[in-house]
């Protein structure tokens, strides 16, 4: 089966140990998590995991179902890149003196839509958000200035679908509780 990059989102209760429960499902199948980020979601008390993984669809669908099976997970979804708006952020630490020798610094910063966060006598920190290929392009360009540190965040993503499935799930569950259909 054809492999590609998938984005998995997981919505969970705020419980200790959730990350381990999710990550071991990937580990069991020998899947490498490419990137991972955890943050609060738009719904109070609910955490959102965004995970990218390179695999085939069939495997990923099984993984998502096994994640959703965990007691404190509300919902988990699988996306390809065309179904989501996604972003990453990268930081580059470059020696200031080398940058100052550059005549085209302004052009580089402008062309990449990057910005400078901090400048000291020793180093400058540049920030760039975008897709991986965009942050990599800037990395390639800054290479000649001897990048001292580089870091890129995990992917964060928001769906293009107009339907908010997690909100619907929570509302449905609240109805069940009211109706007493709990067992």
């Amino acid at each position: 089966m054809e492999k590609q990059l998938f984005t998995v989102t997981v919505f969970s209760e705020n419980q200790v140990g959730l990350l381990n429960q999710i990550s071991i499902i990937f580990t069991r199948r020998g899947l490498n998590i490419e990137s991972l980020s955890v943050s609060p979601s738009s719904i109070e008390g609910i955490h959102k995991f965004t995970i990218t993984c390179f695999s085939d669809r069939e495997t990923m669908e099984k993984v998502v179902k096994q994640i959703e099976k965990r007691i404190d997970v509300l919902k988990s979804f699988l996306y390809t890149d065309d179904e989501i708006v996604y972003q990453e952020i990268a930081l580059y630490k470059v020696p200031t003196d080398k940058l100052l020798d550059e005549k085209n610094l302004e052009i580089i910063i402008r062309r990449h839509n990057a910005r400078i966060l901090e400048i000291t006598r020793e180093y400058t920190v540049i920030e760039k958000s975008g897709h991986s290929d965009e942050t990599e392009a800037l990395f390639e360009e800054l290479k000649r200035y001897d990048i001292r540190q580089f870091v890129r965040s995990g992917r964060v993503a928001i769906t293009k679908s107009p339907i908010e499935y997690v909100t619907m799930f929570i509302e449905e569950q609240a109805r069940r509780r009211e109706e007493g259909i709990t067992e």
Binding site: G17, K62, K65, E68, K69, L74, I170, T182
Partner: protein, 574 residues
């Protein structure tokens, strides 16, 4: 005046409030406060002192499997917690409700490599339905309530509560409230009417339907609904290993067991049916063999409460996500009456071959040393086919489950998914405690028995009436069989020098006898069953006895060996 109680007492009161009247366990340093309180509650909460923590988990499993109630285990931290790992994993694989409470070092010591500290939650997360560490006494009631709800609802499974020592000694107010709702958890999904209609349509259109009854039928108590559906539409019923006894062996529509050592009819007809209706089972590889050659000609219907099982191993054409009993009741009125005489006839033809080629030699030999199959057959018969069968793992498991006959539900306790050698003896003890009015016959081998043989001490202490049939061939028989068939007969590390099992049993106050010849067998079985109390038969078995039919691992389900040199020819039943 404070009405606070210790966390230890809160735990015990919470267990009692959840309906627990029996726990299996073993005390130790980090759980002493709980055992101290238990001392005051022995009239309400009976504690069974096992001889090893693994035994506690398997006993709890045996208890749960025959009674449908949640098995409860209490052990200490560290090595005790690591000793329950096998039982947890087994219970997860075989969907068994179990709550295991492990002691833990005081919360201030967590993460410091304190004496007998181990990361229990971290270790057990992959093999439990839920694992939670309790660090405050006020969380105990909530966590216990949640643990029982999770363990026994939906697809049952094991739960671990890791209880820090200071949570046991600290004071808390105690009010117990049962858990009936968790926002992120839907144990009993609403069945979709259109799914039921789609399945009914497939059943009504099919000419050669076949039902598979799995453990889920037993768990949901859907035995009657399954039989009703089968009878109305005249559908042959086959069973997984754990689904045995969901339909009586003598039912005219019951056609046998699936799997590597199952009956020929169900396995061959898997690849000849036009519709496979799988209820409460998970298409384990021991059932499917090569999945690329599994029921390719058939439409597949999968009814299960766990949707992560759909399309996991076998692609489905239709599914019903929900409780088996509910699903089958909803299906019944939509399914048309039908007759499938010709189709059913093909099972009978397979049975004839199996009788002639396998059963005759195995169960009714005229001379030579004793076979495992004949012992199982005779024991079952002597109990009027009414006993609970508990097995260990290996040839003893396959022979006894094949040649036992079942008349009542919940009559088999065996380690199916994990295949845990050593499961049997403690599971049999738990089974007897969970069903005290029934005869419990435990079949084991000389290998598996010695893995948890210390539990004879538990039998001694509690006078548990377990009938132990040791099929002793002085070999690790199942591995020996594979070595003979697939590894050029190189019996690497499978012969065993064994102790005198009768003397060992006697040392534990258990009556026992050696059965050396076929002539002694009937009398010995009768003496065992007539005896009021535990009894061990050490039956001298032919080490060359092999379990057939056999679908070799990874072969197609209808590739069936009748013996070491002969294969079943599906053309025979055309």
């Amino acid at each position: 005046m404070s009405n606070k109680i210790t966390g230890a007492e809160a735990l015990i009161k919470s267990l009692i409030a959840e309906g627990v009247d029996r726990v299996f366990g073993y005390p130790g340093g980090a759980i002493i406060p709980v055992y101290d309180k238990l001392y005051d509650y022995t009239s309400q909460l009976k504690h069974i002192l096992v001889r090893h923590e693994q035994g506690a988990t398997h006993a709890a499993q045996g208890y749960a499997r025959v009674s449908g109630r949640t098995g409860v285990v209490i052990v200490t931290s560290g090595p005790a917690a690591t000793n329950v790992i096998t039982g947890l994993s087994d219970a997860l694989m075989d969907s068994t409700p179990m709550v295991v409470i492990t002691g833990q070092v005081a919360s201030s010591f967590l993460g410091s490599d304190a004496f007998q500290e181990t990361d229990v939650v971290g270790i057990t997360q992959p093999i439990t339905k839920w694992a939670y560490q309790i660090r405050r006494p006020e969380d105990i009631s909530w966590a216990v309530a949640r643990a029982f709800y999770i363990a026994q609802s939906g697809r049952p499974g094991p739960v671990v509560l890791d209880l820090a020592k200071d949570a046991q000694t600290g004071l808390t107010e105690w009010v117990h409230k049962k858990c009936t709702y968790i926002r992120s958890y839907i144990p009993y999904p609403r069945i979709k009417a259109e799914d039921v209609q789609a399945v009914a349509k497939l059943i009504n259109e099919s000419q050669r339907p076949m039902l598979i009854s799995g453990h889920g039928v037993m768990i949901s108590g859907a035995e009657k609904e399954l039989a009703n559906l089968a009878e109305k539409a005249d559908i042959p019923v086959t069973s997984t290993l754990l689904g045995l006894s969901t339909i009586p062996s003598a039912h005219p529509l019951y056609k046998g067991m699936l799997g590597m050592h199952g009956n020929i009819g169900p396995n061959v007809n898997t690849n000849r049916c036009d519709l496979l209706i799988a209820v409460g089972m998970r298409f384990d590889d021991r059932v499917t063999g090569d999945t690329t050659k599994y029921a390719r000609q058939a439409k597949i219907v999968h009814i299960d409460i766990d949707s992560s099982e759909f399309d996991k191993n076998i692609k489905t054409d239709a599914t019903i996500h929900g409780d088996a009993r509910e699903a089958l009741s909803l299906l019944l009125p939509l399914v048309k009456e039908a007759k499938h005489n010709e189709w059913l006839e093909t099972f009978a033809r397979c049975d004839e071959v199996e009788q002639e080629k396998v059963v005759k030699r195995e169960v009714f030999p005229e001379s030579g040393p004793m076979n495992m199959g004949e012992v199982a057959y005779k024991v079952s018969k002597a109990t009027g086919d009414r006993a609970i069968l508990v097995t260990d793992v290996g040839q003893n498991q396959m022979f006894s489950s094949r040649y036992f006959r079942y008349t009542e539900p919940r009559s088999i306790v065996t380690s199916g998914g994990l295949g845990t050698m050593g499961f049997g003896l403690p599971a049999a003890i738990g089974a007897k405690m969970g069903a005290p009015d029934r005869t419990v016959c435990f079949f084991t081998g000389d290998g598996g028995l010695q893995m948890t043989i210390q539990e004879l001490g538990t039998i001694l202490e509690y006078g548990t009436d377990v009938k132990i049939i040791l099929l002793n061939n002085n070999f690790l028989g199942n591995v020996r069989q594979w070595q003979l068939l697939f590894f050029n007969g190189r019996f690497s590390q499978t012969p065993m020098i064994n102790p005198d099992f009768v003397q060992i049993a006697n040392a534990y106050g258990i009556k026992a006898e050696n059965v050396e010849t076929r002539e002694q067998l009937d009398g010995a079985i009768q003496r065992m069953l007539d005896h009021n109390g535990a009894y061990l038969l050490n039956v001298n078995i032919d080490p060359t006895d092999m379990i057939f039919p056999m679908t070799p691992a990874g072969a197609a389900v209808d590739t069936i060996m009748l013996n070491a040199s002969e294969k079943f020819d599906p053309q025979q039943i055309k």
